[in-house]
Symmetry: C2
Amino acid sequence: MDIYQLGEFGLIDEIKKKFPCKNDSSLIGIGDDAGVINFRGKDTVVSSDMLIEGVHFDLTYFPIKHLGYKSVIVNLSDIYSMNAIPSQIILNIAVSSKFRSDTILEFYEGVKIACDEYNIDLLGGDTSSSISGMTISCTALGSIEEKKIVRRNGAKANDVICVSGDLGRSYVGLRILQREKSNFIKDPKNQPNLEKYKNIIEKQLRPKARGDIIDHFLKNDVIPNSMIDISDGLSSDLMHLSDSSNLGFKIFEEKLPISNDVMTTAKELEIDYLSSVLNGGEEYELLFSLSPEDFKKIENESLIPIGFFTKNSNKILVNNDGSEDELKSFGWKHFS
Amino acid sequence: MDIYQLGEFGLIDEIKKKFPCKNDSSLIGIGDDAGVINFRGKDTVVSSDMLIEGVHFDLTYFPIKHLGYKSVIVNLSDIYSMNAIPSQIILNIAVSSKFRSDTILEFYEGVKIACDEYNIDLLGGDTSSSISGMTISCTALGSIEEKKIVRRNGAKANDVICVSGDLGRSYVGLRILQREKSNFIKDPKNQPNLEKYKNIIEKQLRPKARGDIIDHFLKNDVIPNSMIDISDGLSSDLMHLSDSSNLGFKIFEEKLPISNDVMTTAKELEIDYLSSVLNGGEEYELLFSLSPEDFKKIENESLIPIGFFTKNSNKILVNNDGSEDELKSFGWKHFS
């Protein structure tokens, strides 16, 4: 059945059935003009992102269920990076007439998996037609006690800079998917065998939002001094922290968490693995800074120290041979 | 300067400067991963809409500043229709490379005018590139005491059904704009003279969100039993109220508020004025129901009674000659 047969209201009914509210804070969900939430005295945290076919994703190699999943994750990650707990989303999508309604419902299957994993309620949204392609706009809401909010601008000199996981897989995974697409276009007999790239492609198609890190902070009563999620790339996002906080930093190549997959696949692709690690976007790992005391207090394998903030404004990468480079941001600036 | 020269971060800086927060409830605005709001014990109300070039608007006759304005209004209207007061928006836009950065800033000029008029803070959003055309996704947040929330499903039999203003102008105005566009395409010497249609076109290009009605309710301590804003059309939205509330209704043609402009312009366009009034969308008037006692208590010229809800499920339009028709929804279903 195509989307025109099911109709907007039919589609909304289907979606509504799949998404009963599970959070006490969700007072009114899908089906009215607006959703209503009671955060019981906490602050409301809200973030929104847009994903556009042909710009942010390519449905020829991005399974639509994964896209639904990732659309949610991207926004939850922004809420976590304020040290808050997400609990609701609002999802707007626009699709052209070429989309079948079961494709849309598959998209929502992915949305549902993410919502279930992270205990999120879908509160509503807008379903619309587009001239061509698919556009997704997701808004996530969460809550936090005011004194626990973590911003980009709170880093202190000597803070330990940490990331929550290894870097580079998402970008290298994307490059593999693009290569396989172009091989397939050249000759449709070239069926991709992606088994050996499973680990890196998974990071691109099915990233995690690191709520476990926020739980770890809350459980141990530690509040980072600054935090951001890595969506543009380590360099670019670290500069957001240092610039907002009027600090410099020193990070160490030898400390950067890089999986073997990234090394070998970068070599195969003839791209620089270090650049993939420094400038690859869509990681959705958390990048944060802790006082040395707090770091010691809650140290574990998910808090990977890569350097520290400095009073002077130099942005230094210390290479494995001991030489130093001024780090530059190449980030994923969508307009450059 | 085109958008690629200014860059995403340059654009965000420009926007940030124009939108300092003015509400006490806005704790963190543009510039971090998420906005943070403190509604001080009230409930959070949230709504989101998407507007797509070629589907919801046509930039050949829709001035971009008005588009910025209307993008905000559409969402504020949804918050008001819950009987809540909007205070923040998050705005995502995607534009193709053909857009100049001053065009985008003009769009934000319109956003700013709406924000200033309605005392709204822009808390952030995503600025992205698109393959073609412009897509806008706006999320509005507001607040309300839980016991004052008004839903679609609370209407009672014998409630007086009211609208907040005259109907039909938005649709007829759209038809005039479309006619002038097609005349211009046929012969570019056909410069449109829209002066005589000013009143109807204004409703299409620069609708109001009826916060004044909510103020009137609050000031007089009256809570409507049901409410919705007319975005799909009177018929369609009235059916949302009656279906959610398991009621029927009787409305009277002679009570429908119709301006002379709509009558004369519909005649000129050879379209049915009554159908424009019943089925024309994008009105952003509030449609609500009050107990007869409450209606009497707060009656004024902005509360226009058009009929009442009934226990039986018949949906009746009483024509001027006394005959009755079953009302059908033709609404603006985007997929039909």
